[in-house]
Amino acid sequence: MTYIAKPRVFHPSLDKNELGLTRRDYEGVMSTLCAGCGHDSVTAALIEAAWELAIPTHRAAKMSGIGCSSKTTAYFMSESHGFNSVHGRMPSVASGANAANRDLVYIGVSGDGDSLSIGLGQLCHAVRRNLNLLYIIENNGVYGLTKGQFSASADMGSKSKRGVPNEQPPIDPALLGLSIGATFVARGFSGDKNQLVPIIKAGIRHPGLALVDVISPCVTFNDHVGSTKSYAYTREHFREAVEAAFVAPKDFVPPADEITADIRSADVRDVPMHDGSVIRFRQVEGDYDATDRDAVYGYLRERQNAGEVPTGLLYVDPESRDLHDVLGTVDRPLWNLPFEELCPGADALDALMENYR
């Protein structure tokens, strides 16, 4: 436990976003996670992204399940809505919330235990449905709350704190997502906010489910020599496949007009999204194409077989249509429909039932 609250005094140069808010206005209560937990850095990245996007804090909903990761939602945007649900059931609750109020920004935070074990089915179907939700998996390869047993994402051969190797194959959320139709797949590292913040921003704006796997080391149970999810191991095997930046519609400048000294600017590729925003990719790997699902899948397999941790905004489907779009629901959020329209009464129900006779 940390006993004092973070003092409410700021650096005078702290910038304000277009809502007149500083980063500090996007903070939550003090973290009670272990000191040095990767999850706290993910929290900081979420705060930075939400501030940069100038999300009105009362227009966001934070959804989570159970686990160290799922505590995270308490640590940012304390003025936002939130639901800390049953273990592994965050996607269901998020689906319901999203169905009722499509206007909010949905930020789901889960972990490898919550999403890849007990909640695996929930995750898969939320991906299939393409729920409009940022889905962050804080992935550390162990069950931290129960003292560090291997989770479903532990790599073969990775050693526990006691020195025992894992002998069961891992579920890789990125490969899983690609194989079941995810429209946005990314992997980041809690120790690299320069990469993570743009991914989160793009994920929040993505129309559909943005699956973001974040390697987020468990400093207490999985940060030792022999672990493949430690800070040191991740840094050593980290490989950036592609660099992505989120460009809001108002800031959009075609790459040709962009004045930049970066020598890689020639390799810039803009992928336009539905709302007029753009995800700007800078090539790191030769001819990497972040819109080619099969190629990305192949690339990930190849690099992972070579022992690397490929990262970046790995795949995006520019044609993504979220659940509301596919189902053709009304544009207005359900909560805002007049009662007579939402609940047209017994006669309307009878008429509907007639259709099925």
Binding site: M1, V9, D223, Y231, A232
Partner: protein, 612 residues
């Protein structure tokens, strides 16, 4: 940038802004914590060690520490450091048993001090415990120098003054009253091994305008205050003009208000931003209904039939010329009636008693040529300090001059090189008491600076002996001590332990920390989490970190020493460590370490001590 060498005591010392700004380097946060623990004796002794006159300074110090206080940069008002010093003095018990022992067997060296002001008294305090025989020659029948003659009793009660002076005299100092030294050559012929001149800056500056010598109602401020102190003067006319707007002018106008002056005006040539008086002394004068009139440049004393009627002034306006100098333009003229005028436009040193062939060189302003490090004049064995050295300063500077001169005198009398100064050391002790417990109160106190209560106006103006400031009560003290940011609790970083998890960076409320690639300082300052724009404050740069070879950078400017970086650090790469400057005094060196003044360890529970 090269990795910062925190082994040099100066680095962490500079982080403690108040201590760094204090001429005597008093351990301010240290004594504030002792006050918080109600350890008033310890707090007093910690002060006494470095500034010698805690009770006096707790009322009269010029407080260079307060404008330097970090709190000014984080919010607005500094910690009321000076007021807290007085709390320690007011609430102390009998601390005399803790004073250093005075050897009965003397070391055979005899030192003469000229003038019994704060500089000479400090020399005596530092040398008596080493076995010296110190003789002080004082022209008045009382000690204290300007602390007695120039600081009015309503700011500094005499009993406070005498008590702290007696602590020193009771060490066995041979003090000779009514014994002005009239000849340096005579003094040098006496059997002394060294001479210390602490005779102050006793000559008030003159204002030679028409009419100056045609009346006896024009007074020199410091002489007039002295006359009031000795009871020779106990009244003044109703309409008084005080010329000058320094702290002496404030004492003159406030004294006038108490002994008959009803219409007292302070006449300033310049405008308010250029006033020399401390802001709080100006405030106190204004509270006592003294008019402060700016932009009035005196031109003439108006005398009719040998009687002072008032003064003529030019009303002026100031602006900077191309060279950046202030120049005035006359706008108009004005007459101010007065029956008495007090001149408080500065003071200077005066050595009519030092003969030209005494071997002591003077510069063209008749100031003695004194070495800034050793305090020795051009004649071997003759040292200067306090206002006598380089003109008017204040009590805290006089005390520090006394310490340094004592170090030189001790080296000189021991046949050692006086240029070789004893080095400063430091202790650095971890403040960690438990998982989330520190040996200091690390939570941030939002309360504004507590305001000193004053005796009611009518009551205080009735007598010159009524002390205006009532001191802090318990509530004020307990709140004010919490406002201190504990800048001596250093954020100490061990790069080899860092796993670059960013926890410290994420938690830091003032955006002080960055992990980045190293670079040249000017450029590095621009690409930190928050730009490090205050060039007066250092930035810390670590060794390259183990995992990525980047460096940890900390901008010291706005750190509030809350300790959250250390609390959120999984590997204890960040630790909070209590910094204690070990400042050498006469007789203390590597072989004869720091005295400690009987103060028990400042940080109970500390387990590590580093002396670089």
């Amino acid at each position: 940038m090269e990795p910062t060498n925190v082994g040099n005591p100066d680095y962490y010392h500079k982080v403690v802004d108040c201590q760094w700004a204090c001429p005597a380097h008093t351990n301010v946060p240290g004594y504030i914590r002792l006050i918080a623990q109600e350890r008033y004796d310890d707090a007093y002794m910690l002060n006494w060690e470095s500034n010698v006159f805690p009770g006096i300074l707790g009322r009269t110090c010029d407080r260079p520490c307060e404008p330097a206080c970090r709190r000014v940069r984080v919010e607005e008002k500094p910690v009321a450091i000076c007021r807290l010093k007085r709390v320690a003095a007011d609430l102390r018990g009998d601390i005399t048993p803790r004073f250093p022992d005075i050897p009965k067997q003397k070391n055979g060296k005899r030192i003469a001090c000229v003038g019994a002001g704060p500089a000479s008294l400090t020399v005596a305090r530092d040398l008596m415990p080493l076995g010296y025989e110190v003789t002080i020659f004082e022209k008045n029948d009382r000690p204290g120098g300007l602390m007695w003659t120039n600081i009015p009793q309503f700011r500094l009660p005499p009993e406070v003054l005498w008590e702290e002076i007696d602590y020193i005299l009771d060490m066995g100092v041979d003090i000779r009253y009514n014994a002005p030294v009239e000849s340096m050559k005579w003094l040098l012929e006496q059997d002394f091994d060294a001479v210390f001149v602490g005779s102050g800056a006793p000559r008030g500056k003159e204002l030679r305008l028409p009419g100056r010598y045609d009346t006896d109602h024009i007074y020199i401020g410091i002489d007039w205050l002295e006359s009031v102190a000795f009871g020779h003067t106990n009244a003044i006319e109703e309409n008084v003009l005080v010329i000058g707007v320094g702290n002496t002018a404030m004492d003159c106008c406030r004294t006038s208000k108490r002994i008959g002056g009803t219409n007292v005006k302070v006449m300033a040539r310049k405008s308010k931003p250029y006033f020399k008086a401390s802001p709080w002394e100006l405030e106190d004068a204004e509270e006592e209904l003294v008019d402060i009139v700016e932009n009035h440049s005196p031109t003439e004393f108006v005398i009719e039939d040998g009687v002072l009627k008032g003064m003529n002034f030019d009303i002026v306006e100031w602006h900077e010329n191309d060279d950046g100098r202030l120049v005035s333009t006359k706008l108009d003229e004005a007459f101010f009636p007065a029956e008495a005028v007090i001149l408080a436009i500065g003071q200077e040193t005066a050595f009519p008693w030092i003969e030209d062939d005494a071997g002591i060189e003077f510069n063209k302003w008749r100031e003695a040529v004194v070495d800034r490090t050793t305090f020795m004049s051009t004649r071997e064995g003759v040292f200067f300090g306090g206002d006598a050295a380089w003109g008017p300063e204040n009590i805290i500077w006089a005390a520090e001059h006394g310490h340094q001169a004592a170090i030189s005198i001790h080296a000189y009398c021991s046949g050692e090189d006086i240029r070789k100064r004893p080095p400063e050391h430091m202790n650095l002790v971890s403040a960690k008491m438990g998982l989330h417990e520190w040996s200091y109160s690390n939570d941030y106190e939002y309360a504004p600076r507590r305001k000193m209560r004053h005796v009611r106006l009518e009551e205080r103006l009735r007598s010159i002996e009524t002390e205006v400031e009532e001191g802090f009560d318990l509530e004020q003290t307990l709140t004010e001590v919490e406002r201190c940011l504990n800048c001596d609790l250093q954020t100490h970083f061990t790069g080899s332990l860092c796993i670059e998890c960013d926890a410290c960076i994420d938690i830091c409320p003032l955006s002080c920390l960055t992990i980045t690639h190293n670079g040249a300082e000017a450029e590095l300052r621009t690409r930190l989490t928050a730009p490090a724009e205050n060039a007066e404050q250092d930035i810390y740069v670590s060794e390259p970190l183990p995992q990525t070879s980047r460096v940890m950078v900390k901008d010291e400017d706005l750190c509030i020493h809350c300790g959250l970086c250390a609390e959120r650090c999984p590997t204890a790469a960040w630790d909070m460590r209590t910094f204690d400057l070990l400042k050498p005094y006469a007789g203390q060196d590597a072989e004869h370490p720091y005295s400690g003044m009987g103060i028990e360890e400042m940080s109970p529970g500390g387990f590590m001590s580093v002396t670089p």
